[in-house]
């Protein structure tokens, strides 16, 4: 899978990436203090994501435990060049938080409890993660989200922060599924344009 590999220029330089990679390599070797280091570095971001999605402190703690233990056990699955360790960790947290809330919902098919957890989508992403894996400040991202047309922003937020599936977003917003798909697509494209400064800000779409 080829990809354009356009770097996002507003990426903050992150020498922490290298330190993280070194720490993750030590995690893969079974060194607990390296896990501790990564936990301390990303616990607050991870917890905020988990809490935002689950809206349940206990569940959010379980999500963090599952996620960091997953990282502990599978640190060797991290692929250098596919993004930063931070991205990798937080994608696992996000994925598990979504899993946790979906499991709690009775309408969704329950995964087999012992079934292996699927790799988060973000972890099979192409190399662009290597380019964009830095950290934007929260204000920049919030500002970019605020620039999106309302329906696009709503679709992204309900999905990413709300943990809703696209079907559930459609139900929640009363929009047809096809429209929700368009909003998600356009929202992601717009966000990218805004954050990279490429072209015009928002992509107006059929809403």
């Amino acid at each position: 899978m080829s990809e354009p590999g356009v770097p996002l220029p507003r990426r903050l330089p992150s020498s922490a990436d290298d330190a993280d990679r070194a720490a993750l390599a030590r995690v893969a070797a079974g060194e607990l203090d390296a896990l501790e280091l990564l936990y301390d570095r990303y616990r607050a971001m991870a917890y905020a994501i988990a809490l935002r999605i689950t809206r349940d402190a206990t569940l959010a703690e379980d999500v963090l435990q599952d996620a960091f233990l997953g990282a502990w056990r599978h640190a060797d699955r991290y692929v250098d060049g596919r993004g930063s360790v931070k991205t990798w960790l937080l994608a696992i947290v996000h994925h598990r938080a979504i899993d946790a809330v979906r499991r709690r919902r009775p309408t969704t098919d329950l995964p087999e409890p012992e079934a292996p957890v699927a790799t988060p989508a973000a972890l099979v992403m192409p190399d662009i993660f290597a380019e964009v894996a830095g950290r934007l400040d929260a204000a920049a991202v919030r500002g970019a989200l605020a620039e999106l047309p309302g329906p696009q922003r709503e679709a992204l937020e309900l999905a990413y922060f709300g943990g809703l599936s696209q079907t559930e977003v459609a139900e929640r917003t009363g929009a047809p599924l096809g429209t929700v798909k368009s909003r998600m697509r356009l929202g992601l494209l717009s966000l990218r344009r805004i954050l990279t400064g490429e072209g015009d800000a928002a992509v107006e779409g059929p809403t």
Binding site: S2, E3, L32, A46, A48, E61, Q65, H94, A118, Y160
Partner: protein
């Protein structure tokens, strides 16, 4: 949902990247991408920005106790994998035991090596002192992953569960049984408040004939080993001591030997695995 076409994947890509597909659809996309030879540039185009969404959230400090849970669970996981450094006894008695383990004199065959303090200081911090936390972690309903991964062997996992449940009881102690030789058998054991001992080991040779494995206890490194009970091992290499007759002594040393016949009065060397029980104390809080 099976057999997605590339166009289907393109349509599902935004939700896929946002973790917003139903599980079956997500699996179908994943399967397609694993097999597809066509480029899917939309993934990078749409997905490159997804990790930034996390940056929009203000960080929130999790409870401090969560770290203890996670580190203890990771430590237990390390122990359950076997072969890894397990206990770093910080006590003077244990240090003495460790020293004596360096070269047990031939005329003192009852001395049982206790795992020496290792360079992995983190074990001293997070190891079994966090047993109580570990129990929460392993028994936590959501913690399916750790349970399933403790070992591939279901029998071992079940035995480990039993040990962990025992360690959860008030007054119980937990011991990691470290292999005497790298890659040798290892496991964990719990000493209940009433002195009964439950242990789980993996990597043992199957027993045959009258052979048994015997679990031993020592009140200190120099004490005479006292047998706690025998168990046999099948082809899965899993050993399970269900109700050993131990003692609720703080820092009790536990050891396992391979015996030609049941009910030995002294262990047949070498000791295969050993460890020191510790009460589930609060782990040190790192600065």
């Amino acid at each position: 949902v099976t057999g997605l076409r590339c166009d289907d994947v393109r349509e599902l890509a935004p939700a896929y990247l946002l973790d917003a597909l139903e599980p079956d659809d997500a699996d179908a996309v994943r399967d397609h991408l694993a097999a597809c030879t066509e480029p899917h540039p939309e993934l990078a185009e749409l997905g490159g920005v997804v990790p930034y969404l996390a940056d929009a959230i203000e960080p929130i400090e999790p409870p401090a106790a969560l770290k203890d849970r996670i580190m203890a669970a990771a430590a237990a996981d390390l122990a359950a994998r076997g072969g890894a450094p397990v206990v770093s006894p910080p006590t003077a008695a244990a240090s003495a035991a460790a020293a004596s383990a360096v070269g047990p004199p031939a005329d003192a065959p009852t001395q049982i090596p206790v795992p020496a303090a290792r360079s992995r200081r983190d074990w001293a911090r997070w190891g079994l002192a966090a047993a109580a936390v570990l129990v929460i972690g392993i028994l936590g309903a959501s913690n399916l992953m750790l349970r399933s991964q403790l070992d591939g062997a279901e029998a071992y996992a079940a035995a480990v569960d039993e040990v962990v449940a025992a360690a959860a009881e008030p007054g119980a102690q937990l011991a990691a049984l470290e292999p005497a030789e790298p890659g040798g058998p290892s496991g964990i054991a719990a000493v209940r408040a009433d002195g009964s001992v439950v242990a789980a080991l993996s990597g043992l040779e199957p027993t045959s004939g009258t052979e048994v494995y015997t679990a031993w206890m020592l009140a200190s490194a120099d004490a005479t080993p006292v047998p706690m009970g025998d168990f046999t091992v099948g082809s899965d290499g899993v050993g399970h001591l269900a109700d050993g007759a131990g003692q609720a002594v703080p820092g009790l040393i536990l050891a396992v030997s391979h015996e030609p016949a049941p009910s030995p009065t002294a262990p047949t060397l070498p000791i295969l695995a050993s460890g020191q029980a510790r009460p589930p104390a609060t782990p040190d809080q790192p600065a």
